[in-house]
């Protein structure tokens, strides 16, 4: 009996703390249940919210913020272009990079080499890198883009490579009333071919008239240009520009006190889907280094026939005509009094070229260019004919072979009879190899 009592007591003692523990466990379970219910409610709430958000169109949050109307104040307001960089992922560039390489080889007569009267003066009978161009281009911010082009090439037969800044400009893209402005150093949009870079030209060399009127590099100036495209049923672009006037061949004053003023109007006619014609007129007016007036007018036309579905045009015809009105000083002794006098003279000069190209296959094209040009100051004129053939193994690689025959009139003797050589009749054979690495923007018409 005593043993039974002892067991009973021991059991009671053992069970005594268990009773509150059981009560605690029940309370804890209830609390957990409440917590789970609360979490379930929260989960349901989050799920509902997520469903609501998913049902909403996502673009408003992801697309760029609406651009405010452009006002003078907007243009003047300082911005934080470097903020854009922080929004980009690591390793991403903010702009595109491209390299274009252009190598030219030319063979001509010995006397032409002596007289340095070929299409690449001083580089006759040489193979040389004409233009290795590093291009950087992209958006500066939502309002402007920029282009920087650095060129390297052989300019003299020493083999030394000259590096220079070819272009560096920004374009304001969001100006009102259908206008845009380009500010910096640029190839001027004068006519069709002047703006085209060497490696993109449809010929090995620049047309004679462009070289004779603007020098071997063409018209390349520092200043600003603005374009205006009115909202019309047909395309018209009007351009006006103000530049230093550094171009030595045509102008040369080099000061904004007497700036080089440029203008261009071009239009475009689409004759069905297959035929297209672009026409334009340009003007550049400034002063020479002698502070005498010089004006060059230009007319351009470009026609393309591209059969429907073709990846390339079958026929392309391009032509430009330039007319120069220029004053210059001539030193002489017209009176025969032994005293050298300086006399102002005026000379009007013409020049033009016309080129045609046929591209029956995607990888092959053949064409010709005919040049006729007077000179800005030198008397006489030159004519040239240049047939060529181009081959593209791919979109980024091109080889070209061309022959050029140039004939100059006798009046040009002083200019093209140098070092005991004569360059009145010039026959040249050209070979050109061009490549593109990386980014390269599409070409306009």
């Amino acid at each position: 009996m005593r043993a039974l009592t002892l067991v009973l007591v021991l059991v009671c003692v053992a069970l005594a703390p268990a009773a509150p523990a059981a009560q605690d466990a029940a309370a804890e379970a209830a609390a957990l249940k409440r917590e789970i219910e609360q979490l379930q409610k929260q989960l349901q709430s989050v799920t509902d919210r997520l469903q609501r958000l998913e049902a909403q169109p996502p673009a408003a949050a992801q697309q760029p913020a609406p651009q405010p109307g452009i006002s003078a104040l907007d243009i003047a307001r300082p911005r934080q272009p470097f903020g854009l960089y922080q929004q980009r992922g690591a390793g991403q560039l903010l702009f595109d990079i491209g390299i274009a390489g252009d190598f030219v080889g030319n063979l001509t007569q010995k006397n032409v080499e002596k007289a340095q009267g070929g299409s690449f003066p001083g580089l006759e009978n040489r193979f040389f890198p004409r233009e290795i161009e590093l291009s950087l281009f992209g958006q500066i911010d939502p309002y402007a883009s920029a282009v920087v082009r650095i060129e390297a090439g052989e300019e003299e037969r020493t083999g030394d490579i000259a590096v220079h800044l070819a272009e560096a400009y920004l374009t304001l893209l969001t100006l009102p009333f259908g206008t845009q402005a380009r500010i910096g150093q640029m190839r001027n949009r004068f006519g069709w071919s002047n703006e085209i870079h060497e490696h993109d030209l449809p010929w090995v060399d620049r047309p004679n008239v462009m070289r004779n009127f603007f020098g071997s590099e063409g018209l390349q100036e520092q200043g600003m240009e603005a374009t205006f495209v009115p909202d019309l049923p047909f395309y018209v672009e009007a351009l006006g520009g103000i530049f230093n006037g550094d171009n030595e061949a045509a102008f040369g004053a080099g000061t904004l006190r007497v700036p080089l003023v440029t203008g261009r109007v071009r239009t475009f006619l689409e004759l069905g889907d297959e035929h297209a014609l672009e026409l334009g007129m340009s003007v550049a007016s400034g002063q020479t280094s002698e502070h005498l007036p010089s004006t060059i007018l230009g007319w351009e036309g470009r026609y393309k026939y591209r059969p429907d579905g073709w990846l390339h045009p079958l026929i392309t015809v391009t032509g430009e005509a330039l007319y120069s009105i220029r004053q210059f000083n001539v030193e002489g002794d017209p009176n025969g009094d032994g005293i050298t006098d300086t006399e102002k003279r005026r000379k009007n000069s013409w020049g033009f070229y016309v080129g045609g190209e046929v591209q029956p296959w995607r990888r092959w094209a053949g064409g010709f260019r005919y040049d006729w040009s007077q000179f800005l100051q030198t008397p006489g004129l030159e004519q040239a004919i240049e047939p060529y053939i181009s081959f593209w193994p791919s979109e980024f690689l091109r080889f070209r072979l061309a022959y050029k025959h140039t004939a100059r009139t006798t009046q040009t003797r002083d200019a093209f009879n140098l070092n005991g050589g004569s360059a009145r009749t010039v026959d040249e054979l050209f070979f050109q190899a061009s490549f593109i690495l990386g980014a390269h923007p599409a070409h306009p018409f």
Partner: protein, 305 residues
Amino acid sequence: MRHAFVILVTALAVIGSLVPAAPAADRIRVVTTIPDLKALTDEVGGDLVEVESLARGTQNAHELEIRPSLMLKLRRADLLIENGLELDSWAEVAVQGANNPKIVRGAPGRVDASRGIQVLDVPATRVDRSMGDVHPHGNPHYSLDPGLAPIITENIVDGLARFAPERRQVFEKNRQAFLARLDEAMARWSRALEPLKGAKVVVYHPQWIYVLNRFGLIQAATLEDRPGIPASPAHLTRVIRQMKEERIRVIIVEPWNDVKLATRVAEEAGAKAVVLASMVGGVKGADSYIGAIDHNVNALAQALR
């Protein structure tokens, strides 16, 4: 000089005087880079939009000649809808010549239709031009995959609604109606191609991967050596041998590509060259989005049978 300047100023003044007053803003003027996006925008926008495409259906959308007429279209656009993934990067040159701040990069009038697309053929290794004219962000030819139309049209609705938020519901309603019609057509297309699942085809240019995947067909080879690089004779010989060995009966060719070459290769391999609409309007009868896919599915089903 003075005369020339006077002429120029006069010309500018005349042009300026021709500028019409602010145009009526009752319809949203939309320009798309390719006709597929035009067709979809027409469906979504209905009478509320006026849509033009820069490229035509028969053209190669990779390389479009940048004519000033494209700039003229963009000059008046409220919205530019582009394919993206670098298929139509040429549009940037046209935009820069259009002098229209509403559609410059980063402006709300610029819509990228590829947003949210699960892009295929994204290069997993370093990309360079030795691989041909490869797209570093992946295959951009997604627009004629009917399974992706819901995403593309959603992007279009978002773009239109940014310009006219009060009309979002109308656009969305149009979109749903179009997607319902597309669902019906999808059932028809699936039925037509279901028995041909797993069939192998050769393509001229690798631009069909989205459509082929959608319907369970397999791209076995391309006629191009590499994207954008013309086929070498050795490559064509390999393709012909592969087609014979694997009994591939169809070469898909785009209307702008070399159909004659595709036909010659197909004949050598005992197969057929089938010209499919690479974009809306690419072939006769493919004048709408559903019409273009109808044509492609029927032509493919017929050739594979």
